[in-house]
């Protein structure tokens, strides 16, 4: 596959002695949304966090195997995890805006990476990020209010805008709607659909309907194993594996 953005080969993830991910190989493509589904504790979030080395922040986590971003091994000694995370952004389960103003929340990343030497550049990045995240019209008159004063759905879009602001190539989303109401969820899903034009998006979700609605490809994880990976339409209509079929028909999970 020439369009592959991220490639994982024989990846194992350990927490101490416990193996959380077992021999997973997967190709994640540009320009589409890839969904990871599976029952709680199946390792989908763990695997997601190994794609931008967020597992490094957990003391006894260990990753073996190979994960390539544009053919470059992200666990190689030469790879700086800080630079990697600027290319592979992440949105978390619970909206986690910084206790700063809306403006400062977005400006945080570009400032760190020196993306905006002049104030005008920064203002431009802030407007375009908020616009892409569908939040500009709601907040353009109150950019100096604290980010924490927004509603849950707005906070999550703020976090997405914050991730976009550093111009990543991949955005990882770890159950981004699980703390939101249905209306806010619908807005985020629309947004994900628009964003896939510019970024490779990987979303972990516990909602099969959400995976079916927003993703083009779906990976089904179970007990640390990648059970089945294919086009979303195929996974949900004609799953090859018995386990996948049982899960999507609601037999467990």
């Amino acid at each position: 596959m020439t369009n592959s953005k991220l490639t994982a080969r024989n990846v194992d993830v350990f927490y101490g002695q416990k193996k959380a991910i077992n021999n997973v190989s997967i190709e994640i493509d540009n320009g589409i949304v890839t969904a990871f589904i599976g029952p709680s504790g199946c390792g989908k979030s763990t695997f997601l966090r190994s794609l931008n080395r967020m597992n490094d922040t957990i003391a006894d986590a260990r990753v073996t195997g190979e994960i390539l971003l544009d053919g470059e091994d992200i666990y190689a000694a030469a790879m700086d995890p800080v630079a990697l995370r600027a290319r592979v952004g992440m949105v978390f389960q619970k909206p986690n805006p910084f206790p700063k103003s809306i403006y400062e929340n977005i400006a945080y990343g570009p400032r760190i990476h020196g993306l905006a030497p002049a104030k005008a550049d920064l203002d431009g990045i802030i407007e375009s990020s908020l616009t892409k995240a569908g939040l500009w019209d709601e907040v353009k008159d109150r950019l100096n209010e604290p980010g924490t004063a927004l509603s849950g759905g707005q906070q999550q879009r703020l976090c997405i805008a914050r991730a976009i602001a550093v111009s990543p190539e991949v955005i990882l989303m770890d159950e981004p709607c699980s703390a939101l109401d249905p209306i806010a969820t619908a807005r985020i899903e629309e947004l994900i659909d628009e964003l896939k034009e510019s970024f490779a998006i990987v979303i972990v979700t516990h909602s099969m309907q959400q995976a079916a609605r927003v993703s083009q490809r779906t990976a089904f994880f179970h007990l640390g194993n990648l059970v089945e990976y294919g086009d979303t339409s195929q996974i949900f209509t004609t799953p090859r594996e018995e386990k996948t079929k049982d899960y999507i028909t609601g037999r467990y999970g």
Binding site: N52, M54, T57, A59, V82, A83, L84, R85, A86, R87, G89, M90, F92, K94, N96, P97, F98, P99, K100, Y108, G109, I112, H113, T148, C159, R162, A163, V166
Partner: protein
Amino acid sequence: MILTGVLLAVLGLGLVGWFAARGRARLLHTGRGSIHSMPGYHAWHVALWIVFPALIAWGAWQAIMPGLVDGAVMADPVAAQLPADAMSRAAILSEAKSIADNPDAVAFNPLANTLAGPVRDAHGRFGLIGALLVAIVAVAGGGWAFTRIRANFPARTRVERGVLGLLLVASLMAILTTFGIVASLVFEAGMFFKDVSPIDFLTGLHWSPGSARGDNLGDSFGAVPLFWGTIYIGAIIAMIVAIPLGLMSAIYLTQYATPTIRKWLKPMLEILAGIPTVVYGYFAALTVAPIFRDFAASLGMANPSTESALAAGVVMGVMIIPFVSSMADDALAAVPRAMSDGSLALGATKSETIKKVLLPAALPGIVAGVMLAISRAIGETMIVVMAAGAAANLSANPFASMTTVTYQIVQMLTGDQEFNSPKTLSAFALGLVLFIVTLILNIIALRVVKRFREAYE
């Protein structure tokens, strides 16, 4: 003393009542549901009814007995020889009492020797009456409770209510003590402010209680140099030492230290908090102060004093480090992990995350910790007594000897002093100011901490 024996006897009686009541209630306990409360509760019910009324009677008797003894002694024919003036009367009487307690004591006034006999008699008589009274109350209470042992008597609810009351009293004790302290401070300070106007006291620049004379009291009790010394040592020099060191150690311990290092370093830091302040005091006076004095001399200061604000302040700062560090540690740990994850996921380094996200988020908690630390530092006494000096200097020179509010309180209240002179009473006015300032600091700090906690829940 007979009443102490009575106290022990009451407790013994309570024990007897406990066993008697349990035995009685056991007879009623013939099977499941035959009795409302288990025998143990009946036992406690009776024991409490023996001990509590008796204790109250004992306390009440202790309060009124001295008055009765005095009355009886005054009625004695010997007392007729006492001088009419109330003060010398009281002096002789108290002397007679100490002779009555301790036959080896030598009286200054011969009349006290003759009065000692009647005092002893009255003591014995009223002590016996008190003992009888307490015994009657104990037996009456216990007997009444004992007659109520029946199958359907709700002893359990009664005992639980009693325990509830006990817990309430225990929790009120600290609060009542605080009120007592405030009341005594306010009362004594009020006496002082009768002689010296509060405005002179709070704004005057000259503190020399030793030279206070009848008509110029206001000029000798200007406490500003003390307030300045307190703030300079406790809130400025000590904090310049404690805030950066405490904060940096908290950052290291929570963010960078491996679990093994943390396991060793944190208890070691906490040992610092357990060192008695006297030990810090002589460390400041004997080790640190001479170093600073020599340093001052090498800077060209003429006759630097051994006692310096700098020595006291620096050692106090070291003492406060664990305090600041553990408050900052808590504040940093209270910032949700999601916050630092969010920053790291944007490609921020660990130190950028700490500087730009963690510290600002933890700032209210850290500020509150610093305020609590200041309130501790300005109330600290031993270090300044030993290392800061006694001179009320209004100076910004850290090598100068300086005095603080706490040091002056110690000065005013130790040694032979007339208790009602403005010099002694000024200690209470100083104490009141110190109390109010630390109270305000604590209230603000606790509020900030509370709001900070709410923000992340």
